[in-house]
Symmetry: C2
């Protein structure tokens, strides 16, 4: 297009000539999120309080897990006015060093999580600072922190400067310490504690279920005390930082990574930066594209980056290393569902690691609890991502979608009326959340289908348990009915036969009936192949429900 010829002629009258551009201003990301605080989960008073607790508990769990510490977390919520609370969250984690504590809690988009390719609960480096902001805009108070780290205990106050997104930190004291841990303490307005299904208590209960290695205590307003004890004494595997898989890379990211690489050659950069990128793969690429692999990666052009990405799609690759994904584990989920929900039946399914969007590994675990102490909860869904409960925005979530798609009557479960809890956890370095609120999983097809398969597998196990229970019930009824006739029948038989006593006959008949129903039950059950596995190992390969 010719710069001298804009395709539309100008108007003759430009109206008032007030230069509106003098109002041009720059804003900080902190101002943005103050204006859009609902994007961080600050919408509604109950939800806002849950968001606050969620951010701190999540950070504590991440810090403990990364250091192999069994977490002890204590949450205190003290009412100090109308819809005003003081919140104190303490952990036994590693604490934070002086040089980063201000930025970690008083600057948005700063932290260790945004850029590392590692499975953690937090991902964005916004949440904790969002809470600092919320405290100061609702009560004007700074955020108080006690950090015991590396032999030192630091006490300080932190605010976010919303205009600049920089922390204002005031150090109150510093001294030797022989322990470690972090305590955050702040006052919040425009929040409300209640025991609804969106509230803090429910959030912590759900967190405890997915984190059986953690001990979580809550002191609720009115000094009500709750404790979720550890049900296993083993810390989860430490999350590992992994290199991205070649199949998941975009043209832009490949070029950007190349331009900031220190490797002298493009080939070295590729082998060094990605998992599964061997010199053998470089040779294979050389055969199909004319890119100079001995050039500096800093010179990688858009065109060459595009060629590389296209060629990469054509090669065969080993799947990404799976040890970046850390599921909770079948036994752990079983123990903690037993511990906290105590249902009559539990069936937990831990599926193989799968891949989405070409290169991102993820794993789905499903536990279904049925009956027993579960009675108020009718077909309730506990959604989790990396062990963190997703409490809001269920309607747009792949987990909710998957559950909706299942024909539950095939599993003899009525989601409207039966006492059932469906626990679903997805683990991945990169959880595909729908928004910054991190409350729903995107409906990426591979992910949603895998969730569905996992739930169906777990449901089959419950179906078998339910079937067995119902059969036992039926047998019991028949036996009872038959036994009702025995006394009369034995007497009549004794009279008719004129030999033997009524008691003898009755004993014999009873034994016959009892043996028959005993044998039949065991026999019928064992004859069925279904009953062997309760869903294990029979659905690999992604069987789909019609």
């Amino acid at each position: 297009m010719d710069p001298n010829q804009p395709s539309i002629p100008a108007n003759s009258d430009i109206g008032t000539q007030r230069d509106t551009h003098k109002d041009f201003k720059e804003h900080s990301v902190a101002e943005f999120f103050k204006k859009n605080k609902h994007m961080l989960g600050f919408s509604g008073k109950t939800r806002s309080l849950t968001t606050i607790i969620h951010e701190y508990v999540t950070n504590s769990l991440d810090a403990c897990d990364e250091h192999g510490i069994l977490p002890n977390i204590k949450v205190e919520i003290i009412e100090i006015g109308e819809e005003k609370y003081r919140i104190v969250v303490s952990d036994n984690g590693p604490g934070m060093p002086k040089n980063i504590i201000g930025k970690a809690l008083g600057k948005m988009l700063a932290g260790t999580k945004f850029h590392r390719y590692m499975q953690q609960r937090g991902q964005q480096g916004i949440g904790a600072t969002g809470c600092t902001m919320y405290a100061q805009i609702t009560t004007g108070q700074p955020f108080h922190v006690l950090s015991a780290h590396n032999g030192k205990m630091l006490s300080c106050d932190i605010k976010v400067n919303l205009k600049t997104n920089e922390p204002d930190m005031v150090i109150i004291g510093e001294q030797e310490a022989s322990y470690h841990g972090l305590t955050v303490e702040a006052e919040f307005g425009d929040v409300k504690f209640d025991k609804s299904s969106y509230g803090v208590l429910e959030y912590l209960k759900k967190t405890a279920i997915a984190n059986p290695h953690a001990q979580i205590e809550l002191v609720a307003p009115g000094n009500e005390y709750y404790k979720f004890s550890r049900s296993i004494e083993i810390a989860p595997k430490k999350p590992k930082e992994v290199k991205p898989h070649p199949l998941g890379i975009s043209v832009y990211d490949l070029q950007a990574m190349a331009h900031s690489s220190k490797e002298p050659k493009l080939s070295g950069f590729l082998v060094d930066s990605f998992s599964r990128f061997s010199p053998q793969k470089i040779s294979e690429l050389k055969e199909i594209i004319d890119v100079d692999f001995s050039k500096s990666p800093k010179e990688l052009s858009w065109e060459d980056s595009e060629k590389l990405v296209k060629a990469i799609q054509k090669l065969k690759w080993i799947a990404p290393p799976l040890d970046s994904v850390i599921p909770i584990g079948k036994d752990q989920i079983e123990k903690s569902m037993k511990n906290i929900l105590d249902p009559e039946f539990i069936n937990v399914v831990e599926r193989d690691i799968k891949i989405y969007s070409g290169g991102i590994p993820f794993a789905v675990e499903v536990g279904i609890g049925f009956g027993g102490k579960i009675n108020e909860q009718k077909g309730e869904i506990y959604r989790y991502a990396n062990r963190t409960p997703l409490m809001f925005d269920a309607s747009g979530c792949a987990i909710a979608n998957a559950i909706k798609e299942i024909e539950w009557k095939r599993y003899n479960i009525d989601m409207e009326t039966d006492p059932a809890v469906i626990f679903v956890n997805i683990s991945s370095v990169h959880i595909p959340y729908v928004g910054a609120g991190k409350q729903a999983i995107s409906d990426i097809e591979e992910v949603q289908q895998e969730i569905k398969n996992a739930i169906m597998e777990a449901a089959r196990g419950i179906k078998i348990s339910l079937g067995r229970k119902r059969k036992v019930g039926d047998m019991e009824k028949k036996k009872t009915a038959l036994l009702r006739y025995i006394s009369r029948l034995s007497e009549d038989l004794a009279n008719l036969a004129e030999t033997g006593s009524k008691d003898d006959i009755q004993k014999k008949l009873t034994k016959i009936i009892e043996t028959k129903y005993m044998t039949n039950m065991v026999g019928e059950e064992e004859a069925k192949p279904e009953s062997s596995g309760a869903g294990e190992g029979e659905e690999n390969g992604g069987e789909k429900e019609e």
Copy 2:
């Protein structure tokens, strides 16, 4: 709490001592939105293209309206590869000066819209730069701009430095120009042009309906040409920047505004910064709180700010000035629905300005089109905020909620099967959007109820038109049936009476029947009070459906 006593004792074993904090980094808001691009509307190829066109067209319309220019906007979409398009959007707006063009299109959270209290389509200062980012991450290409402003034509290339959120701008040429306008041109990958209801053509059609003062042209791939002509020649009232109303202020914002005020006294600051804050109001406040109004506003404490906000709620206030709200107008909507949709019936309702959240004025307009050239669209909803079509996320939107709540059968409209379009526009300085994607209106009660009332008012008018039409149809049928007998009857009468000719009798009978049905129709219609207004003026005061 005692800093020496963290409430949880430390673990004896802190695990590996690797200091994870060395990975602590800061990130730019541009990196954040690159990672979370779905938050800006970049999710799905069709939607991404619509988002791009939306951002440019919106900016053009805002710029033209602010300068009183009747907008001419031309959108060209040229296919240049697989899911790759060159997009050119040109307008006859004021153009942009050299000193801000880089930041406006190459830096996020920079612009004139974020902080001004003024009704505009854009609000956040992210959208256009989001497009620049999307161009460069999908094609590696910079964004090309031609800006004719104030007698100069500037040609330049712009990129966002994602690491720093700073613009990289390369000036290509600069020369005299006797016209004004802005042309943006860029190449995008990972987008798709189609004619679905989420596509660009539908978006522009809907934009044209709500902007009858704009001419919008589209050159679609394959050189298909579409033109939406202006249906009115008057530019809308220019948006006015207004001061916030005292009832809408938070404790934090009041303190922050006070601290950056240059007024010597708190009283002066209040009168100067808010609408409706007279010296009389200061006297009233003095009577109920002990705040020193002669102090510098820079010294306003949180406690005093809190006292002020509470006291403000207790006073009586005149409503905020309503001239900040600029609805489209009844005639304008009628003309443009006629022009573009051409239904058989139209009923447009322009409601009085209302207030939400204590101090924010807003106005709702509703147009219902029924029948005529609308035949494919069954009960379709056209949602708008400040004349901008909302294309996505309908399910969470107050407009969709309001429509769902209405008992449509009361209006003889079947939303499943009838050819009807419900047009709803909400105008406000501050549209309460659900997210940064700006595609849904929050379900704030006052807003949703007002939308519902407006739709019901419009639906009543359509009900009357439909009733009249159906009655006319019924009458026609009866008349035709009677007229079928006249010829035979006239002949028989002539024979029986033995006087008069058949023709005479037939003429007289025909006249009687026609007069009867004519009179009846008019008479019955006029006798009904309902028919006078077609919904105007009868529902002020927020009548609720029950």
